[in-house]
């Protein structure tokens, strides 16, 4: 057995730096806190790369298939003999892959933020929170059991909350952070219920036991338990609800676009590359249970993914805030990943979807982080989020322009860039499983190419807006991360994922299927062509097209009124018909009753208190009257 105990340090180092910067940061020069945070992430990144190289290559694990290795585990809470919560680090292909994704993107974001956040109030607070986030996310992916994952899942939610609300003077940022927290927390309720059902019936939290094909979860007696589905299926659907919340899947996606109120590097790190794929990671982590134990739950995953990807792609075509376009694009791409997991089978070639999903997760992290950081550089230069305020920026921001273009091409799925390879695998997996989902994906591929190039042309081409200050290219500290990520976006597609990250740890052969790849590239090219025609030079075409679609356009522009639905359900129904009556009932009926008792006692004593007047004459009268009354009673009534 190979020793991986040191992987414990990967999450712990950012945690130590979080404490350090959090407590002493305000005494440092701002730049020092930034450098310290970056250094911490740098060490974590180096350790992650060492782990990846060792695990995948130098430790010769490939011959027997990549097994999951428990690098470290301790009992954290020993509640009863049946209920024990452990904490540890689990090393397997997907967790190693996620380590690479998280530390790479996080390191790039740290470096970038040194420049981006310059001069902001709360500079050290920002870096402290970034470290906290990195710690939580790394702890999440290394979790050895589902409860540890849940704990870190919540920690990730908290760090996201803190970072979205970073500009806490801004009411919109506060509202957005609150919304993100509440929506994901609501989804996590499902997650918790799922965990409870699953662990109650299997008697374990441990991932290795749960996902073992002969383990208690998969061999759990099936049969319809409730509404035609087995207990296992229900628990997995509930767990997926948690994943759908974090990964902004329809209909729990409403928080993601608003989360763009946070600083842009945060959007790149949390809301593009790492935290939002936690849901995908969760399903991937429990994948054997889904695939072997509850294929129905997997169908739900596939359809939720498919619908989300289409839904988000349509909305993305109409938005004008560049970060929101990217947010919807993220949602759409995560939909792809979910769909790929949903259409996948278990083992060997059947597990193509599983591999494709993780592959896409990996490439997406690179190019989406790049897009967000590029958007940050643009916002930095123009001081606006709205693409109406932009245009012709290619002359002013050459490096941003090139890297952004690379990202757009790769997300559109043009070979030989990374996005093409991973997306193609997903297409193939979907083709073998379900033709409707497959067609949705083709459509989404076209839409993706269209809205990304709409974004690209509106920012860098189109009419040259008159700027108050000439926009400047960002400093090197910001452009170098862009170049690094662009390198990743170009070459990540050549990684042999089918030999490394597979559903059962065994490598399999995968090759390009031209009958699927060529049409998808053509669709993407058509999307790009349409965007070029409409947005390369400003013309009346976009308005005309919007006019043709009429209501559809209006609905998409208003995000299909999902926010309004939520507001309606919470404020108009739950608050008005449950909470307010409860509060009223409490104040007026329950408390009113208590007050009534008090008042009755008070009134009663008011009535009789005059008897205790202290005046002797009155006592005399009463005494004599009473005595006479008694005499009369005895004399006349008794006989």
């Amino acid at each position: 057995m190979v020793d991986y105990t040191y992987t414990l340090l990967i999450p712990l180092i950012p945690f130590v730096f979080f404490i350090l910067i959090g407590i002493t940061g305000h005494k440092m020069k701002p730049i020092v806190s930034g450098l310290i945070g970056t250094a911490g992430l740098g060490i974590a990144a180096i350790l992650s790369y060492i782990t990846a190289i060792r695990y995948f290559w130098t430790d010769h694990l490939a011959e027997t298939g990549y097994k999951s290795i428990k690098a470290f585990e301790v009992t954290w809470l020993h509640l009863t003999d049946k209920l024990t919560i452990n904490i540890g680090a689990l090393i397997d292909p997907i967790s190693v892959m996620m380590l690479i994704v998280i530390t790479t993107v996080s390191l790039m974001v740290h470096i970038y933020s040194i420049g981006y956040m310059k001069g902001e109030r709360g500079y050290h607070r920002f870096f402290a929170f970034l470290s906290l986030f990195s710690f939580s996310m790394l702890g999440l992916v290394l979790a050895t059991n589902i409860f540890q994952m849940y704990i870190f899942w919540e920690l990730v939610g908290v760090s996201s909350f803190l970072l979205i609300g970073f500009y806490y003077e801004k009411p919109s940022a506060v509202a957005a952070s609150k919304k993100a927290f509440i929506v994901t927390r609501f989804a996590d309720l499902g997650f918790l219920i799922g965990i409870l059902i699953l662990s109650f019936n299997t008697g374990t939290f441990d991932f290795q036991l749960l996902t073992s094909p002969t383990g208690p979860a998969i061999t759990m007696p099936g049969g319809a338990a409730f509404m035609g589905m087995s207990l296992l299926t229900w628990s997995l659907i509930f767990i997926f609800m948690g994943g759908a919340g974090k990964s902004a899947m329809f209909p729990l996606h409403v928080w993601l676009p608003d989360a763009m109120e946070g600083p842009t590097p945060v959007s790149a790190l949390i809301h593009a590359a790492t935290m939002v794929v936690a849901g995908v990671y969760l399903v991937a982590r429990l994948f054997p249970v889904y695939a072997l134990g509850a294929p129905d739950a997997l169908t739900v995953v596939a359809w939720v993914g498919g619908i989300s990807s289409l839904f988000a792609a349509i909305i993305a075509c109409t938005q004008t805030d560049i970060k929101r376009v990217l947010a919807y694009s993220t949602m759409s791409q995560i939909g792809y990943m979910m769909l790929a997991l949903g259409v996948s089978g278990y083992g060997g070639e059947n597990g193509l979807g599983f591999m494709a999903s993780n592959f896409h997760l990996f490439t997406h992290a690179m190019f989406k982080a790049l897009l967000f950081l590029g958007a940050g550089a643009i916002i930095h230069a123009v001081h606006s989020n709205d693409m109406k305020d932009m245009g012709g920026l290619r002359k002013y921001l050459p490096i941003t322009h090139i890297t952004f273009l690379i990202a757009c091409i790769t997300i559109a799925g043009i070979p030989p860039l990374a996005g093409f390879w991973s997306k193609d695998e997903i297409m193939v997996a979907a083709w073998h499983h379900n033709k409707i989902l497959f067609s949705i994906e083709y459509l989404v591929a076209g839409l993706t190419a269209f809205y990304m190039f709409r974004l690209y042309f509106s920012i860098f081409w189109g009419k040259a807006t008159h700027y108050h200050h000439t926009p400047h290219e960002a400093p090197y500290v910001m452009t170098i991360p862009l170049m690094v990520l662009a390198f990743g976006a170009v070459f990540a597609g050549f990684l042999p994922f089918h030999a490394l990250v597979t559903s059962d740890g065994m490598p399999f052969e995968s090759h390009l299927d031209y009958s699927i790849a060529i049409p998808s590239v053509l669709i993407a090219l058509f999307g790009i062509g349409l965007a070029t025609a409409m947005y390369l030079k400003s013309n009346g075409l976009p308005d005309k097209l919007a006019g043709i679609f009429g209501h559809t356009y209006k609905w998409a522009f208003h995000k299909f009124y999902m926010d309004e639905v939520y507001i309606f359900v919470t404020k108009k129904i739950i608050f008005r018909f449950i909470s307010e009556p409860v509060a009223w009932f409490d104040r007026h009926i329950v408390d009113g009753f208590m007050n009534l008792i008090a008042r009755t006692v008070q009134n009663a004593s008011n009535l009789i208190k005059d008897l205790q007047s202290g005046r002797l004459q009155q006592y005399g009268y009463v005494f004599v009257t009473g005595a006479l009354a008694l005499v009369l009673i005895f004399v006349y009534l008794w006989n």
Binding site: F575, I578, V582, A583, M594, A598
Partner: protein, 352 residues
Amino acid sequence: MNILSLFILIPLFTIIAILFTGNMKQTRIVSAVGMGIQLILAGILVYLYLAERNAGNTAAMLFYYDAVWFPTLNIHYTIGVDGISVAMIALTSIVVFAGIFASWMVDYLYREFFISLILLASGVFGFFISLDLFTMFLFYEVAVIPMYLLIGLWGSGPKEYSAMKLTLMLMAGSALLFVAILGIYFYSAPAGSHLTFNLLEIAKNHIPIEMQRFLFPFAFIGFGVLGALFPFHTWSPDGHASAPTAVSMLHAGVLMKLGGYGVFRVAIYLMPEAAHEQAWIFLILTGISVVYGAFGAVVQKDLKYINAYSSVSHCGLVLFAILMMNQTAMNGAVIQMISHGLMTALFFALSA
């Protein structure tokens, strides 16, 4: 000297020391030092307790000490702790220590304020270490009465109303409790032998089931009032909103735990059969507390009201868990009490 007695003596000495202080600054420092010692002592207690348990001492109660102080009725000063009491003592000492700092700026009748606050704390500590029903009840009352003064004098808003309401409702709870305690006392031993208030002994000599059926609701509701059991929780929102910060902290953080602890120690521990029979009634009530408190909280406009209603919800959960009557749920209840104690206290400290 038994370490547990120090938990009552230190507050008393602190109170005496406060009487001799000349100005606000001295009062604060004496209070902080006294409660700081108490906090350290709690740390030592946790350490000693764990050491003792690890050494294999499996007695039900550790640091047991017993002395008669009213022989006629066989009332003892019996003290001892198990894991639950140790946890509660640790929680209390943290909250009280923090509470002293939260009331750093009290300048109106500051000496009396700190005396009342520490007296309240000593009542709570006494409650948690007592194993004699009567002594326990006595400490309970010691904890409730300063609360009236603290809210009525140093509170805000409709403070007299809130203080009166809180005290009357808790006193009504005490009245029920007193009935229960006397009932338990008279059936605490088989006919002919010596009656006792000692919890451990009563648990050994089972109370007749007919009496349990009659007494269990008294004991449960009596402590339940303090644990914000629906529909006897309405003192809590008003009381919390009017109380000064430190008192809200202590009240929500610690005093409401007295309810849960008491329910466990007295109602469930002494009358398990009746508890099994009647659990469903109280499960419904506590279940209502949980949901009702939560719904009540979401539409409140006042931060302190939000927190008060959420406390109703959380304490309902604690009582609910205790009623499950199994090991896992009990662990959960204790952890919930600690976490709720810390977070509510923090919340009140911040919202002031």
